[in-house]
Amino acid sequence: MGVYKSLQFYLALLKTSIKASVSLRWNFIFEMFLMLFNNLIFFSMWWIFFLQFNDIAGWTFRDMAALMSIGTGAYGLRQICFGGVKSLARYIVSGGLDSFMTQPKNILIHIIGSKSLPNGWGQLLTSLLIVVLTGLTDLYTTSMIILGVICGCVVFASMAIISHSMAFWLGPVETLAQKYCDSLFLFALYPSNIYSDILRFMMFTVLPAGLISYLPVELVRKFSWLYLFGIVSGALFLGTISFAIFYLGLKRYESGNQVGIRA
């Protein structure tokens, strides 16, 4: 299916999803502000930490703020634009994929774009608020943060697709996939400049929080072509792999030999 057509379809889908998420107006507003409140409490924990320790291996409070802004922004964008990924494992196991399969559009895009979560707007708002409150408003910093948010969103979405797609081979992994995504989000909010080699390796492979926290924040501190290349190519790479893994799993689904299939 053509890229342009896919994009058109996705935008129509996103419009409908956002409309659905806003339809329960009070719930939308409530969730948005609750998320904001939630994040600010978490942020206060770091504030206390930095009151005691001025920096962690060179990262200051300003860097921590950039980190949180990018992390929450990226996650929020994913919740808004690709919220449907949360139900992916469940659809795979319960046969919910079927109705998507009989329609002539890209199945994965259709699924991940068919839900938009209100709390995502709360996350985006947090991101914006942190930028404003901590004075990260110069052009360079803001553009690097935006880049980090977009690429981070792609990384979050890709890892969610990959972990949920494990359902094709391992059966009901919805809770596990959810915990994995939560972990990824959590670790993207912790300073990643402190790790030793093994952990650093982990942070760029099995739990690519490094792509969301380390690289973008280092980029905010100082420009580097290498880091820029790293973030963008990392995001694109993970995005491509996630689609490949999903379609590999779909082939298995079509054979009917996955766990839990019934005649």
Partner: protein
């Protein structure tokens, strides 16, 4: 092309993992899983012409869902030939998607918190419908299905019957050549069921849409389908028109007599008494053994008849008999 669906020697086998209960069983499954090969579909062959109205029925586990999944391209077969509207479903699923519609009774394609109209607009994009065509088509269907008052209400506020009508409209926007319906009237009250059946019949008459329906409700089968395929244990045990089915398989009639005698005693071979009390006499007559006139004659010897009703057994009984024959 007059052929909608062609299936030849179609087979499907699955690998199924067996589960055991209890602590020991659970641990055993973890390390030594027991995988069995199960044959879900065995050498299925049938042909369906465009415009036909097919009921695809069978007991649970017969393989109906598996067959539909293969016809719609969701599952690929283990062996055999399958062709839907000239396409190979599992290979050309995307292209086929433009020409088929699906209504799965237990799963909704309508967005729950939004009005049905929003889902329709999205579907117009999915099926790449030209906007003037979409408007015309939508108006046609709104009139046909009488959806006027429901379009702007969020789907969650609609009754099950209203929702089902919207569901069917959603599947018809792109004017599919074949409509696959899996339990479309499940959970609906009697009136709503009647409405849906009438609409499906109207659709078939006016647009020539091929209907492929599965249902456990025999009235759905009787009132909508003109041909029945009965599946049991992965094979077709019956493929006949409804009329033929009734004619061939049922050599029985149910006779109800209202007499002036409180209890009628008729002990004739070929007559199975179902009820005999309160001036009501109901029996089942085996036409292979004795003709109806003979039974009435014998009854007249015993009492005066105030009323006589002669009925065919229900589809339920016909099907039950066929299932019984196949075992």
């Amino acid at each position: 092309m007059t052929c909608a669906i062609r299936v030849e020697e179609l087979s499907k086998r699955f690998d199924v993992r067996e589960l055991s209960s209890g602590l020991v069983g659970t641990l055993k499954n973890l390390f030594w899983p027991n995988i069995q090969k199960v044959s879900a579909i065995n050498n299925l062959s049938f042909e369906i012409k465009l415009g036909e109205r097919i009921a695809f029925i069978g007991p649970n586990g017969a393989g109906k869902s598996t067959t539909i999944k293969m016809l719609t391209g969701i599952l690929h077969p283990t062996s055999g030939g399958i062709e839907v509207l000239g396409f190979l479903p599992w290979k050309d699923r995307y292209k086929l998607g433009f020409s088929i519609g699906t209504v799965f009774g237990q799963r909704s394609q309508l967005w729950y918190h939004l009005p049905a109209l929003d889902t329709f607009s999205l579907l117009a994009k999915i099926y790449e419908l030209d906007s003037s065509y979409y408007q015309r088509r939508l108006n046609e269907l709104i009139q046909l299905f009488e959806l006027g008052p429901y379009l702007e209400k969020p789907v969650r506020q609609l009754s099950l019957g209203e929702r089902m009508r919207c569901e069917i409209v959603a599947s018809l926007l792109h004017k599919p050549k074949i409509l696959f319906l899996d339990e479309p009237t499940i959970g609906l009250d009697v009136n709503a069921k009647l409405v849906i059946r009438n609409l499906l019949n109207k659709l078939s008459e006016e647009e020539g849409t091929t209907l492929f329906l599965t249902s456990h409700d025999m009235a759905d089968v009787e009132q909508v389908a003109d041909r029945v395929l009965i599946l049991d244990k992965g094979s077709i045990v019956m493929d006949n028109s409804i009329r033929e089915l009734k004619r061939k398989y049922i050599r029985r009639k149910i006779v109800t007599l209202v007499t002036d005698k409180e209890v009628l005693r008729l002990n004739i071979p070929g007559v199975n008494i179902l009820e005999s009390e309160n001036y009501h006499f109901v029996c089942e007559i085996d036409l292979n053994i004795i003709p109806i006139e003979k039974v009435i004659q014998e009854a007249l010897k015993e009492a005066n008849l105030k009323d006589v009703t002669i009925e065919d057994p229900s589809m339920e009984e016909i099907i039950r008999e066929i299932y019984g024959l196949s075992r």
